[in-house]
């Protein structure tokens, strides 16, 4: 075996310039695949990491052996949520939560770095006054969901009123005081939801990656066909031929996977900046760790080797394994019927359809496009060839008819991305769906019995803080809602609705800031004034903060934003794969046909004609199939679209179309120098 391995290695190194170039192309393809695969793995691990780091703030009630009480609630500053964790030790020596080096003493306050910074930046009356007490320290990374998270941990006495607060209705609002035995906790439902979305995104990215990696492997094998057939002729056994080819493919792929790992490492600083759920990532989130890296480094060459074996079957079966060139039979129309059948099911779908059914129909449509692709490419080829007047078009058309599957492979990545873009682009909710809720009326749930007293106290606090507001009590039953309309005229408050003088400048700046961030600021109430009111009202009801309707929407707004970000990430990866694969295919087609191209050039065929033919050969099917896929994607999205055409979706679509064409054109153009160099050989010989 070591002899075979040695021979494979010598064959790989001795393959000459074009052989090395082919191996290099495969290695490059594998490198991109491996880097993206590492990204896909890391993304899942990163969400897992966030879920783990957040779990301690989602307490699980301890039946026995409680050592501490934990209460969690949301507070807000500007349009950002703050997580407020109150901790009281029931026994001395309770172990501290993640990120803190000791259990916070009563009265102590621990800030996350981002919150500490924000508290310094904003006037005390807007934020810092909410968290009085001695600063205990800074919360370390292991206790934070993301580097920019606003988190505060306060030490409390076990009998503090805060530790006796009741739960809010919204699970996102936090957790009522809970007796805990340790800080293990459990993942929040939001975190689990993100993990599920990450998994779907992974599937969307990994499937094309695997196809791409496999194609790259077969590409190496295709060029080895002739040489391996020669080896068979001199008496190598099928086993030896397979072993040698696989060894060669695996060596190349391993080199590519190593390069991909390095590439991914270099990309980490960029990737950590992708904001999801309101924050970016720790560099450690994006590093998959040694075991997973080793797994990718082992799995990728293995998969490539496997594809190589599949691709080699033909050569092994027959020593004369060179294909006969005949007009291939036209693709079956059944392929189109499959697509039509899948599409026929779409109008039956609707917002009420079970998610599983939708996924299946979408998956079928996706697959059906892939099936229909070669048929359409063949048809376009026949039309192009029939109507061609010049040589370039004729060459392009004939080539499309000759091998529609190969032509489809070149553009399928981009075309299928078109489907995803069409679907998401049409479906993505309009920006105005959320984000215009009232951001100036604070609401606070209060016990009915204490409502009058608390109303009076609220007015007093607001007036002391110099915040004009109208305070009312609404609702019925055991709990009433204290509504504080910041900046609104009120009979018993600073009457004309103008903010107090000292707030004016601050307010103006804040309003500009607020409108820039898309939040509406009604009347004269500013984000700054709202935060002053929030700070003034803090502690009015222990364990509760006053929130606006806009605050309660923050998570929905974030989620929508994250879907957008996720879309862009998935589309970016798809495009990368598609464009790299278009480039590789273009280059390999030049290599495969270098003898014919070189002889044509010797006989005086201008290179421009060959280049134009190659361009037409990809762009014509791309235009038809890309457009078709987008249309199918849009068609599939129609039953779910809640708004009419939405601008951001159309922008995504348009950007995709432009990127697709530019990318594929660029990828093809990148192989023009290769064409030039291989056709410069005056005595071209096949491998």
């Amino acid at each position: 075996m070591s002899g075979l391995l040695g021979l494979s290695w010598r064959l790989l190194r001795g393959g000459g310039r074009s052989g090395l170039l082919g191996a290099g192309l495969t290695a490059a393809a594998v490198a991109v695949s491996a880097a993206l695969l590492l990204f896909a793995v890391s993304a899942n691990l990163a969400f897992q990491g966030r879920a783990d780091r957040e779990a301690w703030r989602n307490p699980v009630e301890a039946r026995t052996g409680a050592v501490a009480v934990e209460a969690v609630r949301r507070d807000y500053v500007r349009d950002r949520p703050i997580t407020v964790v109150d901790l009281a030790a029931l026994e001395p020596g309770a172990s501290p939560p993640p990120g803190l080096d000791r259990f916070p003493a009563p009265g102590e306050v621990w800030f996350s770095p981002a919150l500490a910074e924000l508290a310094r930046e904003l006037p005390d009356g807007q934020l810092a006054d909410r968290f009085p007490g001695k600063t205990g320290g800074v919360i370390g990374d292991e206790g934070l969901v993301h580097p920019g998270e606003l988190l505060v941990v306060r030490g409390q006495e076990p009998d503090s009123p805060v530790m006796a607060a009741t739960a809010t209705d919204d699970p996102r609002g936090g957790a009522a005081p809970t007796k805990i035995s340790d800080f293990t906790g459990k993942a929040t439902s939001d975190a689990e939801g993100y993990q599920a979305l990450a998994l779907i995104a992974t599937v969307l990215m990994v499937v094309p990656l695997l196809v791409f990696g496999g194609a790259a492997a077969r590409l190496t094998v295709a060029r080895r066909d002739q040489r391996l057939a020669a080896l068979r002729l001199v008496g190598a056994t099928p086993g030896q031929v397979v072993a040698m080819t696989v060894a060669e493919a695996v060596i190349t792929a391993f080199g590519g996977a190593l390069a991909g790992t390095v590439l991914y490492g270099l990309l980490i600083p960029v990737l950590t900046r992708i904001e999801i759920a309101g924050g970016s990532w720790f560099a450690s989130d994006m590093w998959p760790g040694v075991p997973y890296t080793l797994a990718v480094l082992a799995a990728v060459p293995l998969l490539v080797g496997l594809s190589a074996v599949v691709g080699l079957r033909r050569v092994v079966v027959s020593p004369l394994g060179v294909a006969k060139r005949e007009t291939p039979p036209a693709m079956r129309f059944v392929r189109v019927l499959a697509l039509l059948a899948a599409l026929a099911a779409v109008p039956a779908l609707g917002a009420g359809t079970a998610a599983g059914v939708v996924a299946v129909v979408l998956g079928l449509a996706f697959l059906a496009i892939n099936l229909t692709g070669p048929w359409v490419v063949g048809m376009i080829g026949r039309i192009t060839a029939r109507t061609a007047r010049g040589p370039a078009r004729l060459l392009a058309g004939r080539r499309l008819v000759d091998d529609p599957k190969a032509a489809w492979r070149t553009v399928s990545g981009v075309a299928l991305t078109g489907f995803v873009a069409g679907f998401i682009g049409f479906l993505s909710p309009a920006g105005g769906l959320f984000g215009d809720a009232d951001a100036t009326t604070l609401r606070l749930s209060v016990p009915a019995a204490r409502a009058p007293q608390l109303t009076a106290e609220a007015r007093e606090r607001l007036s002391a803080a110099g915040v004009p507001a109208r305070v009312e009590v609404t609702g019925g039953g055991g709990r009433r809602v204290l509504t504080v309309a910041v900046g609104k005229a009120a009979g018993d408050e600073a009457g004309d609705g103008k903010a107090a003088g000292k707030d004016k400048d601050e307010e103006k700046a804040a309003r500009e800031g607020a409108s820039a961030s898309g939040r509406s600021v009604e009347g004269s109430a500013s984000a700054a004034a709202v935060d002053r009111a929030r700070t003034a009202l803090d502690g009015l009801v222990p364990g509760r903060g006053a929130t606006t309707a806009a605050d309660e929407e923050v998570f929905s707004v974030l989620l929508l934003g994250d879907i957008g970000t996720g879309t862009v990430v998935v589309l970016t990866v798809s495009f990368l794969v598609a464009i790299v694969s278009a480039g590789i295919t273009a280059a390999s087609s030049v290599l495969d046909r270098r003898q014919t191209y070189a002889l044509l050039r010797l006989a005086g065929t201008p290179l421009e004609v060959l280049d134009r033919a190659r361009r037409a050969e990809t762009l014509i099917p791309l235009a038809v199939m890309g457009g078709g896929s987008i249309a199918v994607g849009v068609f599939c999205a129609v039953p779910f679209a809640f708004s009419s055409v939405n601008v951001s979706g159309m922008v995504i679509l348009l950007v995709c179309v432009v990127l697709g064409f530019a990318g594929v054109t660029g990828a093809g153009a990148a192989s023009a120098p290769l064409l030039r160099s291989v056709t410069a050989d005056p005595a071209p010989r096949p491998d």
Binding site: A388, P391, L395, R399, T596, L602, A603, G604, A683
Partner: protein, 251 residues
């Protein structure tokens, strides 16, 4: 001699290796010249220099008195497309194009409308014994048939000189003879000159003259008599071949 193509004192080096060490050769109108020599003798390099594929390091190449070696690549490319025809050993036909379009391609590259180009290409199929093969693809043709399609493609533009590099190298002897006969007849019928590079004396015998190349120099220039147009062909006693009418002649 009424020379169509002339090379004077051609020198070509590849690094330290000297492929041509001062070679001169003139090819007359309608003349068929065989360039013979063992592998590495420089015969292919001589063909490449004469055909404007390579620039010699020294010396001159003239086509009908016009310097070829000083032209830029673009001009030489156009010259190869319009004034020269090429027949290689194999691999020169585009596998996805039907035979007739392979033949029509040089015309289309020259700007002839497609319908016209295909019509003119089809005229070559009968005389070359390819009747009915017009729409077959190269994969569906035998080696000899594919070479005949290549001959048609080389001649369809009515070139001044046809260059053939081991045109029968991939064929069996009988097919090779047939192919050479057709190549010589068709070239001559078009009043084109023919330059054939070969290491096969049987192939060389079809030509009017054989030039021996060794180590980048010409050893001898043997002129063979009795190979005038219409004359008997070695190994094929009859003169039936010349009764064929090639498109170039009919015009």
């Amino acid at each position: 001699m009424n020379a169509v193509l002339e090379g004077y004192d051609l020198v070509k080096r590849f690094g330290a290796a000297v492929a041509l060490a001062g070679v001169g050769l003139a090819v007359g109108r309608g003349e068929a010249v065989a360039i013979m020599g063992p592998s590495g003798s420089g015969k292919s390099t001589l063909l490449h220099c004469l055909a404007g594929i390579m620039k010699p390091d020294a010396g001159e190449v003239r086509l009908l008195g016009q310097r070829v070696d000083t032209m830029r690549e673009r001009e030489r490319s156009a010259l190869r497309r319009t004034r020269f025809g090429f027949v290689f050993q194999f691999g020169q036909l585009l596998p996805e194009l039907p035979a007739e379009e392979n033949v029509a391609l040089p015309l289309m590259l020259g700007g002839v409308p497609r319908g016209d180009a295909v019509r003119r290409a089809r005229e070559w199929f009968g005389p070359l014994g390819l009747g009915g093969m017009e729409e077959r693809r190269p994969g569906e043709l035998s080696g000899g048939q594919a070479q005949r399609v290549a001959i048609a493609r080389a001649l369809v533009t009515r070139p001044a000189v046809v260059f053939a590099d081991e045109p029968t190298g991939a064929l069996d002897q009988a097919t090779g003879h047939d192919t050479m006969r057709l190549l010589v007849e068709a070239t001559r019928g078009n009043e084109a000159s023919l330059v054939v590079v070969t290491h096969d004396p049987q192939v060389a015998r079809w030509c009017d003259r054989t030039v021996e190349v060794r180590d980048g120099r010409i050893l001898s220039g043997e002129v063979r008599d009795g190979h005038a147009p219409g004359g008997p062909y070695p190994g094929h006693g009859s003169g039936e071949a010349v009764t064929r009418v090639f498109p170039g002649v009919s015009r």
